[in-house]
């Protein structure tokens, strides 16, 4: 009886000790464990295949910085921006601006690329989810800066002029691949990741830069 108790107590003590002495794993071990958890937790559905979880070095670096609160080394940020800058190509026909009315439709739509969207269906730009754009649309998000008066505030009176060229090219690049200008921007890489077509991006460009667009009124 007494021995049994002693045994039970010893077992209990060993268990408690084991629980207390189990060290929390190192950061590298936790990174590895996270990868294992990801690998066993998701399955493909519709167009959302498992390759969407494949490591992307730009994303890995930014996520690590976000999670640890340690800013990226400036050299690393510059390397990310340089890599992404290389993906930006000027418009194939040299024309940067499309139709602002079509641009408004692209900006309004949040459709596309989810597992419930039909593969090959038209994607939206999700712009209003994060930005104020035209004054008339009151339902806008605040994750990104306001784009109301985008062209007007930057002095764009003729988007085809030499004066306007730098801002036109910058805006084109920013929509194509925002990470070329801000390594860890939260903005999707619309051109680089094939979210919007070249034509759709031209329409959004017109929404922001055409002096006749409601954005610049």
């Amino acid at each position: 009886m007494n021995r049994k108790h002693t045994l039970a107590l010893a077992t209990l003590a060993a268990l408690v000790l084991a629980a207390c002495s189990t060290p929390t794993p190192s950061s590298a071990e936790l990174d590895k464990l996270t990868q294992e958890v990801v690998a066993r937790s998701f399955r493909a559905q519709g167009q959302a295949k498992l390759d969407r979880l494949s490591p992307d070095e730009d994303n890995r670096l930014c996520a690590e910085s976000d999670q640890t609160g340690v800013a990226l080394d400036p050299k690393v940020s510059e390397a990310i921006e340089a890599r992404n800058m290389q993906t930006i190509k000027p418009p194939s026909d040299g024309k940067y601006l499309g139709d602002f009315k079509e641009g408004e439709k692209v900006a309004q739509s949040g459709a596309g690329k989810t597992w419930t969207d039909a593969e090959g269906s038209v994607n939206g730009g999700n712009c209003y989810n994060c930005h104020q754009i035209s004054k008339e649309e009151l339902s806008f998000g605040t994750l990104g800066p306001s784009l109301y008066n985008y062209g007007k505030m930057r002095g764009v009176t003729n988007p085809n002029s030499a004066d306007a060229k730098p801002i036109v090219e910058y805006t084109w690049g920013k929509i194509q691949n925002a990470r070329a200008y801000n390594a860890c921007s939260n903005m999707p890489r619309f051109g680089h990741k094939g979210i919007l077509t070249e034509t759709q991006i031209k329409h959004v460009m017109a929404l922001l830069l055409d002096p006749a667009s409601p954005v610049n009124k």
Partner: protein, 273 residues
Amino acid sequence: MKKIALASRLIGFSAVVGLIGLSTAAFAQKSSTDSIAEYRAMLQDGNPAELFEAKGEDLWKQKRGPKNVSLEACDLGKGAGVVKGAWVELPRYFSDTGRVQDLESRLVTCMQELQGFNGEEIAKTPFGKGEQSNVTALATWISAESKGMKFNLPQSHVEERKMYEVGKRLFFMRGGSHDFACATCHSQDDKRIRLQDLPNLTKNPGAGNGFGAWPAYRVSNGQMWGAQLRLNDCYRQQRFPYPMFGSDATIALGVFMGVNGKGGEATAPAIKR
């Protein structure tokens, strides 16, 4: 009797929703956040989640499944059959399964072990169908039994601490076609998507308010959503692949949000737009 009274309140409730639709333009003239708060307050008066609570309580006490027993011996972490206060301490580590589990995955364990249901089959069943809708109703009642209590997830077991750290890494993980992470929308204060306020889930009050509201009744689609479905739809909108029901990724995120929400008040089952 209670159900009839609830049903008539539901009819009144639908009328209120209709009226709100008509006056959207007028609403937009005021501060949008104020108007939304007003709208929610009006809805709170007749939350249809009560119907699911009643169903969940029945399901807990009913003899069901191949073994024809109730769930009253189910251990949700505070001992067999203890419901009150269980939800504000979940997810937690369970030694019988050797896993950290959230409320919904733990309920499936009990349905399998006590009642003889096939847990894997339930996990594979689409949300809102068959035994999955019963899991949602049970989770609704069980969370309601902790209403007003403060979140206090245990972090004493090493597996619980590991899951917090994994959840944190998942929260900041960027991926999918749009490079979105949970953190893209939920790591800053006072931000919105369109007019929808976004809780900052990395700290209180956002973490407690956000995590502590689900299961919730969603007015926009007339459905009762558990925390698993809430996370599933976040991942859908993040353009990620499909997170499996009760998977460790979903549970780790629950631990991350729940621990960040420590001391926050449990408001589930809430009512959402």
